[in-house]
């Protein structure tokens, strides 16, 4: 090795060492301040702002922002401004856990809002629980979500309640006896909801004549639908998200299937009709809310939402609004601004008058609520009935 080379190597090692030591001092001198010490309160939100269920994340975000902006306009909480940090998980469970980790460890949020899809809530919940940061899901209905731990809450009903209600509605009101199921194998939501539906529906004396599966992201469902057609069902229950539902409905009608289509809250999106068009007309699904509900809290929310965004809110926007309101109330009433104190207050939520109805957080950190059944009528969703969760 020549002398020059030795000098070069030596110099670069020295540079590295200096850079490294600078890096270290910088880190040790400025630890990120805890959320409460700041002049702001940071709330993290994660959702599918893009991806196959993009309207879920976008609608929820609008509802959440409406609630937070209103609170900030009224002076914030304890003199502090509320800052919402939103991360896009692109509809992917692995992204959901990554962004939640970032929100907790880098941004030091006091609490989390999200997700709509149960699979992604389930990916994020263990992390929130591990760091003991309360997480409020606006509309994940799979029962496993809140079973992750005592820091995980939701402001909506769960599938063991939703499934039987839809089953009872199909049996008692629609008077269908033979139902075919088409469910998404990759989705916790879809599997859970269909399980609880099937259990109740067979209990009531109905018959499941076909059970077919698909996988999120598929676009051809004709194989499954042809099998379903052969079983001549009165209705097809499709516990899935709106993108697939739209395509399924189209292909079902192309195959000449006239059975009525039934679904759950995953159908609620302005895109449902855009994709499915007249094929989804006359279908029924259970939902968190109906824009035709006369409740003052609901109508007040719709009025404010229309003023701000110039469109009629869907159920996910309403659920997002309620989740944010409940979280803000918990933060405001907490004796100190820590995640643990907020968790205590969240658990004590009782008779909150939300846009989606009266919300009480029960011992399992789920909400006890009534369930709306709506009917697709063109671009509008018509209110059909409001059912109480009795067994």
């Amino acid at each position: 090795m020549s002398r020059l080379n030795q000098i070069m190597v030596g110099a670069s090692v020295a540079c590295m060492a200096i850079a490294f030591s600078f890096g270290c001092t910088k880190n040790s001198e400025t630890p990120a301040p805890p959320a409460a010490a700041d002049n702001v309160i940071k709330i993290g939100q994660f959702g599918s702002m893009t991806g196959d269920e993009a309207t879920f994340g976008q609608s929820t975000d609008k509802g959440v922002r409406l609630a937070i902006d209103a609170r900030n306009a009224a002076g914030g909480i304890k003199g502090k401004k509320i800052v919402l940090l939103t991360e896009d998980d692109q509809g992917k469970p692995e992204e959901a856990s990554a962004v939640v980790k970032k929100l907790i460890t880098q941004d030091k949020v006091i609490a989390l809002l999200g997700e709509v899809a149960s699979t992604r809530s389930l990916a994020a919940a263990p992390i929130a629980q591990q760091f003991k940061v309360p997480m409020v899901s606006p509309s994940s209905t799979n029962p496993k979500v809140t079973q992750v731990g005592d820091y995980i809450f939701r402001v909506c009903f769960i599938d063991p309640v939703q499934g039987p209600i839809v089953a009872r509605f199909a049996h008692d009101t629609l008077k269908v006896m033979k139902v075919a199921i088409l469910k998404d194998l990759k989705s916790d939501y879809s599997l859970g909801l269909s399980e609880f539906f099937v259990k109740k529906f067979t209990e009531l004396g109905g018959k499941i004549v076909a059970e077919q599966t698909f996988q999120a992201g598929d676009s051809d469902f004709k194989g499954q639908l042809t099998r379903i057609r052969a079983s001549a069902p009165d209705a097809i229950f499709i516990p899935a998200y709106y993108t697939e539902v739209g395509l399924i409905a189209r292909q079902a009608r192309q195959l000449g299937l006239k059975a009525v289509l039934i679904g759950g809250d995953g159908w609620d999106s302005p895109k449902l009709f855009e994709i499915g068009q007249e094929s989804v007309n006359g279908s029924y699904f259970s939902n968190h809310y109906s824009s035709e509900s006369p409740a003052p809290a609901t109508q007040d929310f719709i009025k404010k939402y229309k003023e701000k965004f110039n469109e009629t809110p869907d159920g996910l926007a309403a659920a997002g609004f309620d989740a944010a309101q409940i979280l803000l109330n918990a933060i405001a009433s907490a004796p100190e601004l820590t995640s643990a104190a907020v968790r205590e207050r969240l658990a004590a939520t009782k008779d909150f008058d939300g846009a989606t109805g009266k919300i009480t957080i029960n011992a399992d950190r789920n909400a006890d609520k009534d369930i709306f059944i709506v009917k697709v009528d063109g671009k509008a969703l018509k209110f059909v009935t409001l059912l109480k969760p009795t067994n």
Partner: protein, 300 residues
Amino acid sequence: MEELIQHVINGLNLGAIYALIALGYTMVYGVLQLINFAHSEVYMVGAFAAYYGALRFHLTDNPGWGAFGLTLLIAMVICSALGLCIERFAYRPLRGAPKTNTLITAIGVSLFLQFAGQVVFGADPKLFPEVLRDETLFSFGEIRIQLFDVTILAVALVAMLLLNYFINKTKTGMAIRAVSFSFRSATLMGINVNSIIMVTFIVGSSLAGIGAVLVGLKYPKIQPLMGTLIGLKAFVAAVLGGIGNLPGAIVGGLLMGLCEEMVVAYLSSTYRDALAFGLLIFILLFKPSGIMGQTRVEKV
């Protein structure tokens, strides 16, 4: 029985889509011995070109064959341009390099376009404009055949026949065959290798554009990652049929479609993709050059 016939029809329809895209893979492979992985992304860009084109020119206002033709033209032109760019800037600089280098570049271009697509078009799915209305052409009892299904199969077959004629009967086709046989000898014969390769990419990419519009109409949900799986399956179809062989692409595509449909119908949708790739391994075990592939006798 009626159910089985319907399954066969569904399978053929699905297979026709694979066949149409497989033609593009086979075409480029035949000339360059390059698996053009970017083909599935050209297809995706074609779908978006058609989407934006149809919105820009308000083609959904009066859907029909005119609007359909115009959308097709837009997609084909944009796809050809993109195919040319990929060839010029990614593959041509590596013309003399080992095949592996070009293959890795192809994968790189494919990933680049996928994620650039997410930035440019946005990651949320878009609804493909309805420039042509689907209708039931034929129904016999329970069996139904849709207009789009027939169109896709017909387009795939016509494209295959035209390509066969083009490759075997025209002067440019002869030049393509010469280039495919040997770059160096073709150059000595006075053939401009670069322009022949460009022609290949134009034809292959236009096919992707046609496929994009037809599939967009049939499954009206388009998003930047839409090419990945369908492209992979079309590639498998091309290999099944014997890559480099045009009728082989059709046979491979239809076979894949039929098998998938039968698996979904009589087993479970879980095994749909497993089957596609299992089938590939199985056939290649017994016939390494694919169903209709011949070992370097005649290529595209």
